[in-house]
Symmetry: C2
């Protein structure tokens, strides 16, 4: 399946490289068509990896992974153009972290709203699925790195079929079906994004980003 | 050690009963001296369990457990009187859940502030330790109920010695030392309280409140 990855930072590169590795043609999208990181991504994956503007990538992809910085995500998606996004799944793995007042970041949106919901409202003809935003990107694509791959990840979104497609991709990344928890509709993105401060505090206390939570009962 | 438990709901009763069981004299505090739940608590624990107003309980306790509803906690502590609280540890297990707009609740305070911080600011001569607010009260006092007792709990607060005292109490409840994560100062209460929406969503998705998170790495 052709996939667009929005964002050229470490997160976009990590997600894009994994999607490429498990067999998908990937186009990395960015603000300009000559982004240095995107070029490096393309040359690293000699083959079906390409790069282009957000609009070009969105037109190419059947699914869009939003790996941009959360505070810039809506702008990036607007640059992509509604006509290139409509009818498609947007996997939103971004967090609306606001670093403008220093560390630790606060959330630019929270409590009664979320970035996932904002994206869904701005692009009502898309199917937004919030996923993977609760951990370091290295774990997103390689859950087996810790605890034998036995820890939890979440999806939320309004479209059941879209969530199933995303779960299939997560399983191709190594996630166990039983560890993928469907929280419900896109309003559940609030809890997923509001978890970030606890993530950041735990990271600060342990000095180790390669951790995740496992729901135990 | 003499302990005051503020709040007469299921949470206060559960915490108070456990503290009594592990050997502490407990006074349950409430708005009035004739609270029905407090009377039931006293008669259930024939012995060193008593009840009184918030002020009487605070004067009695060497440590105060705040088990009131989060949106009423500051008021309850004000009723207790600064003179009865100063120099003491306040273990804040409350969450500032606002049910006024229906379910699910939102947070009355979050992101750049927390209930834990508000209590510390209002009572600067106390030592506030945020703890246990991330789970159902049945698990707070009986972690062995799930996963062989192997899951995570957190403390945050400005006073290192106070956190050690609270950790000792948590261990008497059955918490493993290695599972008690010290996140840092009281600003870390933000993440602990902002976790609640994810807790509520997970509860909603699984229909089981007897769950917790375990940090795995």
């Amino acid at each position: 399946m052709k996939i667009a990855v929005f964002g050229t930072s470490n997160v976009g590169d990590t997600i894009g490289s994994k999607l490429f590795k498990v067999g998908h043609p990937v186009m990395m999208g960015s603000r300009t068509s000559d982004n240095k990181n995107a070029k490096a991504f393309v040359s690293k994956h000699k083959g079906n990896a390409t790069a282009g503007t957000f609009a070009e990538a969105a037109a190419f992809g059947e699914i869009i992974f939003n790996c941009t910085a959360g505070v810039g995500s809506l702008n990036a998606l607007q640059m992509a153009g509604e006509e290139n996004l409509n009818g498609k799944i947007i996997v939103d793995i971004a967090n609306p972290l606001d670093f403008s007042n220093g560390m630790p970041p606060t959330l630019a949106i929270c409590n009664t709203n979320s970035l996932g919901e904002e994206i869904q409202k701005a692009f009502p003809q898309t199917k937004v699925v919030k996923a993977l935003n609760t951990m370091w990107c290295g774990l997103m694509v390689n859950p087996a790195m810790i605890n034998g791959g036995d820890h939890s990840t979440f999806v939320s979104g309004n479209d059941a079929a879209a969530k199933e497609e995303v779960k299939t991709i997560l399983k191709s990344f190594g996630w166990l079906d039983t560890n993928i928890i469907d929280l419900g509709n896109i309003t559940k993105a609030r809890g997923l994004e509001m978890y970030l401060p606890l993530w950041l505090s735990t990271f600060g206390a342990t000095n180790n980003g390669a951790f995740n939570i496992k729901i135990v009962s």
